[in-house]
């Protein structure tokens, strides 16, 4: 199978505190550690496993600025055969539909049987995969946590639904699947792996190469626009226990006892 995996470079929420900048126009991006979106990493791992058992190739594509290349290269070090970088100044400010439109053009340049995305991103809402499928007029399934071949041109897939239950269906190829975390255990990528792919060429495609009108993407084409960022205040907030650790522990034990938390 020829598989394309769409990945995104995002601030790593396990490594960073995410805060809002002074005028609320963006998050504070200085000193942020970026990595590949967690869900996408599971999707790449799944693609590599499918290729290793059934043959074919894995291509990783990502849309974003210059630095996006690091993420593509990291996923190539995991085992993807090729990388493609979608970059163009007019992509700036695209909504989900703009990103999906650029990806659609890239999919149509290739000969793919299967396109995988992450089910969502930390700074998104799980929209690009479903939009891309609809634009290609391919079938789609969201939140996929199981994939197996099931005869010619058919995959058997599991979707994660409420309460940890799993919904099984058969889906026709070519299709787009959005991958849920936990579907596999993504392999570790060491420095040596990244060095191995350091000199591989990653083609860069902009709107000209993709053959799409600039007004289909970017802020001009966007129907949904972000205005500002703020920090929510959900509840009254916890009473934060202060003092030495010993004092905190004594107070906490007293509270837990009074609420029946220590039997």
């Amino acid at each position: 199978m020829e598989i394309l995996v769409c990945v995104k470079r995002v601030p790593d929420t396990s490594e960073n505190e995410i805060t809002v900048n002074r005028d609320g126009t963006d998050i504070e991006r200085e000193d942020l550690v970026y990595s590949v979106n967690e869900w996408d990493n599971y999707a790449v791992e799944e693609a590599i496993r499918l290729r290793d058992t059934g043959g074919g190739s894995v291509t990783v594509v990502s849309l974003g600025p210059e630095e996006t290349e690091e993420v593509i290269r990291r996923e190539m070090a995991m085992g993807a055969d090729k990388g493609i970088h979608l970059m163009d100044p007019v992509f700036e400010g695209s909504d989900g539909r703009g990103v999906a439109a650029a990806l659609k053009a890239e999919v149509e340049k290739g000969n793919y049987d299967l396109v995988l995305t992450g089910a969502q991103a930390d700074d998104g809402a799980g929209q690009v995969g479903g939009m891309l499928a609809a634009m290609l007029q391919w079938p789609f399934a969201a939140l996929v946590n199981h994939i197996e071949m099931s005869g010619d041109g058919i995959l058997k897939i599991g979707r994660e639904i409420a309460g940890g239950n799993q919904e099984f269906s058969e889906i026709r190829l070519p299709c787009v699947l959005s991958i849920q975390t936990g579907i596999n255990e993504p392999r570790y990528v060491g420095i040596r792996g990244i060095r191995k792919v350091a000199s591989l060429e990653i083609p860069v495609h902009g709107t000209a190469e993709l053959g799409i009108p600039p007004e289909a993407v970017g802020e001009v084409g966007a129907k949904v626009k972000r205005i500002d960022y703020f920090v929510p205040q959900l509840g009254d907030g916890a009473e934060i226990l202060e003092g030495s650790q010993e004092e905190i522990i004594d107070k906490l034990i007293e509270l837990l006892k009074s609420k029946g938390g220590i039997k």
Partner: protein, 327 residues
Amino acid sequence: MAQIFAYILHKDGVLDDTALELRAAGATLDPEAAVTAVVTGSAGDLEKVCKEAARSFDTVWKVENDALAYPNAEVIRPLMKRLLPKNSLVLLPHEHFGMDLAPGLSVALEAAYLPDSVAFEGMEGDVLKAVREEYSGMVRTHVRCNLSTGAVITLRPGAFAPDERKDKTGEIMDKTPEVFQEGLPEVPRRYLEMVEAEAGDVDITKSEVLVSVGRGIEEQDNLEMIQELAKAMGADVSCSRPIVDAKWMEKSRQVGTSGKTVKPKVYLALGISGSFQHLGGIKGSPFMVAVNKNPKAPIFQVADVGVVADILDFVPNLTEKIAESAK
């Protein structure tokens, strides 16, 4: 404003909790609007569901077919495209079905897609100002969504307070003939079966005291300190999603919308940031204590008591003190 539709989820003849949240959200969009409920399904429960929906919505559009017995987004999307008038506003819950149906539906309808809204803050002309969350709830954003060419809007379950009044006597209109005039659409994805999550050794939905662990535990070997604390407290151990994804604990121990819904008296959240998916699995307003090294973790907004500390350092000392005090 264009016509507003709410796609109603139902199971075993009962409306999903989100149905009344969609009603409330529709009224927020336009207090004057008559919101239409769209109910699809197969004979049997469908009539009952439509009657129930008619008590909360001005109009109910019913679509009935055996192929709709199980809600398969790949079947329902082309039918919705046939059914809905141009420039419609469509409301759906942002859960596993909504996430499956909605993005593609917005493309099919050539409408805007506004995913996972937690609040609406009014209209400016054709433009809706809405609130979304990013980075697991650590920050929120205001977004503007242009509704002039229609929109598909998914709502975070639980974010809009349900409108529980049963004050409507909506007309039930059977749209089946209209929708199936062109026959059943070709179905590229066929539903096979549902497999229920395996039951674990402990049923955390019945636990009175839960010690719950998240990403802050860092390594599998560190889980032992959580077991020891739970043992000293006489509590059961549960966890958040990353622990299950890493295969360190059974799925049956996971608290959250994709795991179990728990109702303990006391909930001790250790190294859990507090995503809405996790908090969505905690009901019954327990006494909640959060320990997290990040003072900005969203869990501190909803917990009763917080401790800003690294659990790897704090937990062993807490266990020791509890064990001592029990002597």
